[in-house]
């Protein structure tokens, strides 16, 4: 107790210097927490967008389709199947697609695209695709020869809404078939490459051409809870014995790497801040020890043990860092919480954000344990920075110190 009291009072002996250190710790932590939460928020947004707009949580295919993408590698089924899938506990949304590689041609250009035969309603429920439309309409009403193409592809083909284009593809017997489609709508998903290579038509219409009845190539599922995918997988296996079921991280291993590495990034950031803090503390405590050589010598002369002198210096270092840190962690937490509620509007950079696959309003995200982990890291840093000054203090000789 005596030591705690002395240590606390000692840090106020040089108010300006101590306040400078505390302010630095405070600012470092606030900035560190804020940027870490921003990165985390961006990653979360990116992650969710990727799942919700693109790959969904779970996909199901014919076991060979992923490699070969042949038209005949379908999963058998009819519309009842989709209804049954929706009834699996934990499934939020589900949709089926037919996928085929084809040539697309207008009067002025020919290119290859991946054609998706979709069920417009369930597709939009699952991937909210309709929101990407920038011109024309989404596929609606009765099955017809309407097609949705990306903006960049439309530019290449020099077509607009209402234009006629011709698609050629192989049917399930590998016979080449062609069909005329009318551009219903033009979309921009934010990914130019994707927009250039992808087109959407009614599944029913496409399946007729391909001669595959009500079969499909892909089943995509959005789950209620990302941590509850294995049950759904098991159910799907029952329902579609001859198929392969993949979860989001199996579909996009890079996404999982991104998720884990964003956490890593936060810690690298924090470690850099801590290195700065450590040097600041080391320097301050060395000064404090050198200014007080006589006093520390006297303490040892009258019988204060080396252990206690060591603890005194360590306590001072911890108090010095923690008093800034506690306020910093608290303020940082409030700051992040405010932005997490109201969002950080970056619509000025919306083009860039769009390219990044991130919403233009970012909601910083902070793991609730993060401030506590930070506090522990600060104390650990303080302990490390205290060692050298404390050893210096112990090496002082009492007689040198008390000599006039």
């Amino acid at each position: 107790m005596q030591l705690v009291k002395m240590a606390w009072r000692n840090i106020w002996r040089n108010k300006v210097r101590s306040l400078a250190v505390m302010t630095a710790v405070f600012l470092g932590l606030v900035a560190g927490m804020y940027s870490a939460s921003l990165v985390e928020g961006i990653m979360q947004s990116r992650f969710e967008n990727f799942i919700e707009n693109q790959i969904s949580h779970i996909q199901l295919h014919h076991p060979d389709f992923i490699r070969d993408q042949e038209v005949f590698l379908t999963v058998g089924g009819n519309l009842d199947n989709l209804q049954k899938v929706r009834e699996i506990p934990g499934v939020n949304k589900a949709t089926i697609r037919t996928r085929v590689q084809c040539m697309i041609a207008s009067a002025s250009h020919t290119g290859g695209v991946e054609l998706y035969g979709i069920r417009p309603n369930s597709e939009n429920e699952t991937t909210k695709f309709a929101r990407h439309l920038i011109d024309g309409d989404y596929l609606e009403g009765e099955s017809s020869n309407g097609i949705l193409i990306g903006e960049s592809l439309a530019e290449k083909l020099k077509v607009g809404v209402g234009s006629r284009i011709v698609l050629s593809y192989q049917d399930k017997n590998n016979d080449l078939v062609s069909g005329a489609f009318i551009v219903r709508g033009i979309f921009n998903s934010g990914y130019t490459r994707y927009d250039e290579m992808t087109a959407f038509v009614f599944q029913e219409y496409l399946n007729d051409y391909l001669g595959i009845g009500e079969d499909f190539h892909e089943l995509a599922i959005l789950a209620n809870d990302i941590n509850d995918l294995e049950n759904i997988r098991a159910e799907l296996h029952q329902q579609f014995p001859n198929s392969v079921v993949r979860t989001w991280n199996e579909i996009e291993p890079a996404l999982e790497v991104m998720v884990t590495s964003s956490g890593l990034f936060s810690y690298i950031f924090i470690i850099l801040i801590m290195i700065g803090l450590a040097f600041g503390l080391l320097n301050t405590m060395l000064m404090a020890v050198f200014e007080r050589t006589r006093e520390i010598g006297m303490l040892m002369a009258v019988g204060m043990s080396r252990t206690k002198v060591f603890i005194l210096i360590v306590l001072e270092t911890i108090f010095l860092s923690l008093s800034g840190a506690v306020i910093g962690l608290f303020s940082g937490y409030l700051l992040v919480a405010w932005f997490a509620k109201h969002g950080l509007d970056l619509s000025t950079f919306s083009d860039v954000m769009y390219e990044l696959g991130v919403d233009s309003v970012i909601y910083p995200y902070l793991n609730t344990s993060f401030p506590f982990i930070l506090a522990i890291i600060v104390v650990a840093t303080a302990l490390l920075s205290a060692i050298y000054p404390a050893i210096k203090a112990l090496s002082l000789s009492p007689i040198e110190a008390i000599r006039k």
């Binding site: 005596q2 009291k5 002395m6 009072r9 000692n10 002996r13 006589r294 006093e295 010598g297 006297m298 303490l299 040892m300 002369a301 009258v302 019988g303 204060m304 043990s305 080396r306 206690k308 009492p398 007689i399 110190a401 008390i402 000599r403 006039k404």
Partner: protein, 228 residues
Amino acid sequence: MPVIETNGLYKIYNEDTVPVYAVNNISIQFDPKEFTCVIGPSGSGKSTLLNLIGGLDTPSRGTVTVAGQRIETMSESERIRFRLEHIGFVFQHYNLIPVLTAYENAAFIMQLQARPEEEIRERVTGLLEQVGLGGRFNSRPSELSGGEQQRVAVVRALASKPDFILADEPTANLDTKAAFNLLDMMKQLNEDEGITFLFSTHDQRVIERAGRVVTLVDGALHSDERKS
């Protein structure tokens, strides 16, 4: 049995080049309750002798026995422990801890010894009042006069009832009146508490208050007079 006993004590600096005999073959004993003053010209070895006896310094040769224990063979940590338990110190300056109050400073040694709070309060309060600092418990050292600071230092040294108190020129920074006051106070405590004092001084005026006067010249014992 003497409280302090030295035998053939030497402290030699620069032994290989130009040796300085800071303490030159001193064998001396101090008995309980003695009130001894060490005098001698500047550089005669007073501080060195006191530091050796207090276990702050190690002799080049000879032995120091304090309260029946040989201290010159102890390790640094053992000596710190020994000082805490057996010896009270009053220095010329930098005696007190600036961030602690007069009371906290006076209680410091007893607290290091982990004595019960109640005992500390009683003892320290009583002593501070006895030396006329009753109203200054909460003053910081910077708010006290030099004489008051030295009194707090004496109380701190004394409160834990050590075997003896070492004071190297405790009055050097004080004016005549304060010096006399401090010496009177030490003498009083020496009688009341029966505690052994060993102090050094330059100051002719305070010498007459000592019960025994040891004179050093060039590190050697020159004279040793007891008053009766």
